[in-house]
Amino acid sequence: MPVKTKPMPELVRGAAHPMEKYLRTERLPHIWCSGCGLGTALSSFLYAVDDLKLDPDKVAVVSGIGCTGRIAGYVRMDTYHTTHGRAIPFATGLKLAKPELKVVVYSGDGDLFAIGGNHFIHAARRNMDLTVLCVNNFNYGMTGGQVGPTTPVGARTTTTPFGNFEHTFNLVHLAASAGATYVARWTVLDGRRLKEGIKEALTHKGFTFVEIVAPCPTNYGRRNRIGEGLDELRFYRENTVIRHGTDPKAAPLEPGKPIVVGKFVDIQKPTHLDLYETKAAEVRK
């Protein structure tokens, strides 16, 4: 459960945040814990939209369930908070029925890769024109810190009280092998590069994927002696290496190894919509 913080006093609030125009400020304060990586993840996305001068009316944000799933509720665009794991098929229908929209799926590791894993690989295979942003915080935050498909081996969670013994997904490798045409990974420490990565993902045609490594101090950090959110950011600073173009297979997130970030895949391939339209034009003749 995210810890509820008190509303921010006016004094601290100070001047409006430059990205406030994209937020449903009436719903703030948000529910996220202090030290959580989700704030940076969200603002990086909003800065990307702003930099690209996208018409916010033409951007739809779809989320699943979980702490990251709450992003949809805070963004002042057309937003959809769906059920657990189903953001991608929902977004697929949206995109197919209204191709002129930019459709962004913003959700967490458990939502997209456990319950929603099947949808992810098929959307990537089809090169469905979607941008999928995944906040990977290595556990299920919202439900109280249970093990997930990206939890490192040995990590303690509420359902692996003796340490996780299951193998984990390397999300960037999974995305690339399933057919994603743009794949990158950044941490929330590096908001600027993350923003640039999201901008590239938003402008790339086809299925694009950005993994956003983020701290969950409340549930993951605390149980795994990482400490506060800030401690985890410090860990990123000391242990992150940028390796553009590296084979994503060679970039798993493993305890004791550096966090490899960068752009791993950037290729062009006809999208599902391109191929559907070509076929439809053929049969209409």
């Binding site: 937003t79 991608i88 229908g93 197919l96 098929h122």
Partner: protein
Amino acid sequence: MTARELWAGNIAIAEGALAAGVDFYAGYPITPSSEIMEHLARALPKRGGVFFQAEDEIAAIFSLIGASWAGARAMTATSGPGFSLMQEGLGIAIMTETPLVVVDVMRLGPGTGQASRAGQGDLMQARWGRHGDQHLVVLAPATAQDCFDLTVLAVNTAEKLRVPVVILSDELIAHTWEPVKLKEQEERWERPRPRSQEPPFGADHPARIPPMPPLGKGFDVSVTGSTHDAWGVRATSDPKIHRQLVERLGQKILAHRVEFTVYEAHGVEEAEVGIVAFGSAARSALAAQHLLAQQGIRAGVVVLKTLWPLPEEPMEELARRVQALLVPELNLGQLRLDVERLAAGRCPVIGLSKVGGGLPIYPSEIAAKVQEVVR
């Protein structure tokens, strides 16, 4: 000029969808519904519509929900096991007031049951298959003509009331070829659209359907499957908002029920015994009525084509007139429970259940049961 076609039930459903302006179909193959999908896989791309074969039934129904919010008239078809997988999506479609149509061509369950054999065991699932208090509309064709007409009605009702509509067909109807009469033009009901910034999830009157904002037009719609207020803001602890919402979701359907309530009453005025049925069992009931007439027994038959909300009046009236009510169905007695409730002790209600092998209930079996009762 009215045209006539010879169609199997499944084809009539697919053609009904096209006539109703369905422009988005997503599905996953499953017997005995696949002909609907195959028919639309050919037809939709030619007409500028979208056909999408999803990775599973869950993806199919969720892509329908997305497409519907994007403005499409969206439909899918499946059978029992796929219908089970779609319950999650149906629940959120009810909660988010999303128009869509799900066709369930029933086969025998539970589990994988007898895959391509006719059954009518999904009646209760269609009504109550999801968690939480909820209502939707369920229609049931008995002929190929019904398949066509009720699909048009289903799409129109879904749009007008912002509610998912389920069509319960069964394998016997799906694969029976019959003539279907076509009108020149089908009526078209549209979903309500907001004139300006109007609350998309609230209404001042239970009969009023809140307008559904179009996507990409600056309405900044906020859609959530969680309990929400009139503007779509999550309200996950307020008891009043929750109660108002779930009550309104049911009331809006009831307030408009005359618009989608369809049933046939045959010979009920003179009836000494009544038969209530739907789908393929109703066809046998009508044939049994003739057999019984030859033996001087006056049976009244109510064929239900709207199964939920149930048209209660014809059954209550029948129960007042007859010695007994017979409910033949291809399950272990699901409709019978409702008929018992409506008869309310006015006459005995007798079930005639047949399950297994996909065999229809034969008219002679119904007639024999009636004879037993009146004797």
